[in-house]
């Protein structure tokens, strides 16, 4: 008997050994590399920086967290939160009909086309996509040219004159940041919703109709509750990815910073690792709160 066969036989007789062999590598990875770095980060956030020497003071303190509540820092956190929430809601609204079509109607070649269309943007570099959007949204960009050609540039000008949302051009406005976030994370919302919708048997929708529910009622009472775990899963992606990203707001948007940029600057140029770490903990806490609330509201009941 060959060695692989004997090995296979031995493992069949000792299923626990097989399980152990399968679990040890990922557990090592998760335990040491992943959680280890997370705890290192957490530990850093409980240190503080000496304002005069710029040296890190390795004593336990909550002072660094206190700094998060200074007006300028709180601004960064709230701004990031609002953008992340807006991106998540918009992504869910756009993703749902696409996912619904893919799950309920697309068959064969159309289904393949759907997956290709969703995944294709993920194949190219994220940086390239962001710069491409800069070309689209810039003052001399494609969108401006198109609107000028259509004699609709006054529309854009009117929009850009709006406070907060507008700016000199779309590429240096919050609207631009929002649009690019929305574009880049959309696949992460579509795919989980599609997976959730795919799991709803067609007879479930027929049953709702049979019992007198019109299209709107079927959506509200049957489809949405059953798709909710998928929507929540997608929103975890879009929300947390937006919370932590620092490249998109760096390239597209105003000079006001988001959390990711703050982390980047505090650990880099400012050399304030404890404050950077404290900032990095913020998205983790926010996601924790978000998931707890989602659970309380019964988002995972249909799982």
């Amino acid at each position: 008997m060959s060695l692989p066969m004997r090995l296979s036989d031995a493992l069949w007789r000792r299923p626990r050994v097989l399980l152990l062999l399968l679990l040890v590598p990922p557990l090592l990875w998760l335990g040491i590399v992943y959680l280890g770095s997370l705890f290192a980060l957490l530990a850093q956030s409980f240190f503080s920086i000496d304002e005069f020497s710029g040296l890190i003071n390795y004593e336990f303190t909550l002072r660094t967290y206190g700094e998060l509540f200074r007006a300028a820092n709180l601004d960064i956190i709230l701004r990031t939160l609002v953008i992340a929430a807006a991106v998540t809601i918009a992504a869910a609204v756009i993703a749902f009909p696409i996912a619904f079509y893919a799950a309920r109607y697309a068959r064969g070649r159309w289904k393949a086309l759907f997956y290709l269309g969703i995944m294709l943007p993920l194949w190219s570099s994220y940086l390239v996509k962001v710069y491409a959007w800069k070309l689209i949204l810039a003052r001399e960009g494609i969108l401006n040219w198109l609107l000028e050609t259509l004699h609709l540039d006054w529309l854009l000008a009117a929009y850009l004159s709006l406070p907060v949302l507008g700016g000199n051009s779309l590429s240096v406005s919050w609207t631009g940041t929002f649009l690019v976030f929305l574009y880049v994370w959309l696949p992460f919302m579509i795919l989980p919703i599609q997976a959730a919708l795919e799991r709803i048997p067609p007879s479930m929708l027929e049953a709702a109709g049979d019992l007198g529910a019109d299209r709107g009622q079927t959506l509200r009472y049957v489809i949405l509750p059953l798709a909710l775990p998928g929507i929540v899963a997608g929103s975890i992606f879009t929300f947390s990815l937006t919370l932590g990203d620092y490249i998109i707001p760096q390239i597209i948007g105003t000079s006001a910073r988001m959390i990711g940029q703050a982390v980047y600057q505090f650990q880099g140029t400012a050399g304030n690792i404890p404050l950077a770490a404290a900032f990095a903990v913020v998205p983790i806490v926010i996601m924790g709160i978000y998931l707890t609330v989602a659970r309380r509201l019964g988002a995972f009941d249909a799982l």
């Binding site: 048997p201 007879s203 479930m204 027929e206 049953a207 709702a208 109709g209 049979d210 019992l211 007198g212 529910a213 019109d214 009622q217 009472y221 049957v222 509750p225 059953l226 009941d301 249909a302």
Partner: protein
């Protein structure tokens, strides 16, 4: 009696396949009606045409005289018990049953009272707070039934309602469905591939094959006087004697149906060779071959079972042989 459902030349085509082929059928009000046939025979599509999940490619489906062609499922006075029950997994039993009343805008106390009453009716009180995943197959079946009946439909459609249940439970549910239909007095239309179920429950049966109706009649008519060889074979697996033998015995140039339980082993009669036997418990099924036609004979308990290969003579009462003059398609 007024007709509850009528099919008028209804065809439902999927691509090139005619799942239902120019169907004409009247189902009377208050009837317990069975659509019987093998899988792919068009019986389920016919039911779905009534529920409104499918629309006819040609012809008309009328529900209480009204053309239902433009009526969506949620406006039809019919409710369905689905084969897979299709209970909503995120709702407990009470909310599942009350779903129809909820979308109809009934206030909560009223719909919960009605749901409790419906659960009482299907003998499942006290389960209202459970989730469907916590119920057995038989209990889910009852919830599905309660969920349909709570809307007081004029016609209840049942798609293989007992298909997923084990034998004991199936027989019990057959009884209960029958008495439920009698006490409610509404029309039940149920789809089944199980001829025993159709014969024991239905007032009338339509036997389907390849999108067409082979025969409509009472269980006794369908069993004793099958119109076509298909019906004879499908309902109670009768022996279909080829027209050559029938012509010699009776003079008719048609195939005939001869039920296995009507045949006796005798001193004189049709000569046959025993090719095998299988023990069924209450009886023994003997396989024989006579003039090239394979037949089966049901021997009562205690009868002598001849050895395989031996010669026997088959006899039967004159009225047991039913000559079939119906169309021979299928």
């Amino acid at each position: 009696m007024a007709s509850a459902i009528s099919f008028e030349g209804v065809t439902r085509q999927f691509g090139t396949v005619r799942a239902v082929d120019s169907l004409d059928l009247e189902i009377a009000e208050g009837e317990f009606f069975a659509l019987l046939g093998p899988s792919g025979s068009g019986k389920t599509t016919s039911l779905r045409l009534v529920a409104g999940f499918e629309r006819p490619s040609a012809g008309r489906v009328r529900i209480f005289g009204q053309d239902a062609g433009a009526t969506p499922p949620y406006r039809r006075p019919v409710n369905t018990v689905f084969q897979d029950y299709a209970l909503f997994p995120h709702l407990n039993v009470r909310d599942n049953v009350a779903f129809g009343l909820r979308v109809a805008g009934k206030p909560r106390p009223e719909r919960y009272r009605a749901a409790e009453a419906a659960l009482e009716m299907v003998k499942l009180p006290g389960y209202a707070d459970r989730k469907p995943s916590e119920l057995s197959g038989g209990q889910r079946q009852r919830v599905a039934l309660a969920r349909a009946l709570v809307n007081q439909p004029k016609v209840l459609l049942l798609d293989e309602p007992l298909g997923a249940l084990d034998l004991k439970l199936r027989e019990q549910m057959q009884e209960e469905l029958k008495s439920l239909q009698r006490s409610l007095g509404i029309t039940f239309v149920f789809v089944t591939h199980d001829q025993g179920e159709a014969l024991s429950m239905a007032d009338r049966v339509a036997v389907f094959n390849e999108g067409r109706i082979q025969q409509v009649g009472t269980p006794v008519e369908v069993y004793d006087s099958p119109a076509t060889p298909f019906v004879a074979d499908f309902v109670g697996s009768s022996n279909v004697l080829p027209s050559s033998i029938v012509a010699r015995l009776t003079g008719h140039r048609h195939p005939a149906s001869l039920r296995p339980e009507r045949i006796r082993l005798a001193e004189a009669g049709l000569a046959a060779t025993v090719t095998g036997a299988s023990f069924l418990g209450a009886a023994t099924r003997l396989f024989v071959e006579a003039e090239g036609a394979r037949m089966s004979v049901l021997l009562p308990k205690g009868a002598l079972v001849p050895d395989t290969g031996s010669e026997v003579r088959l006899d039967w009462d004159a009225d047991a042989l039913h000559v079939m003059t119906g169309a021979q398609d299928g």
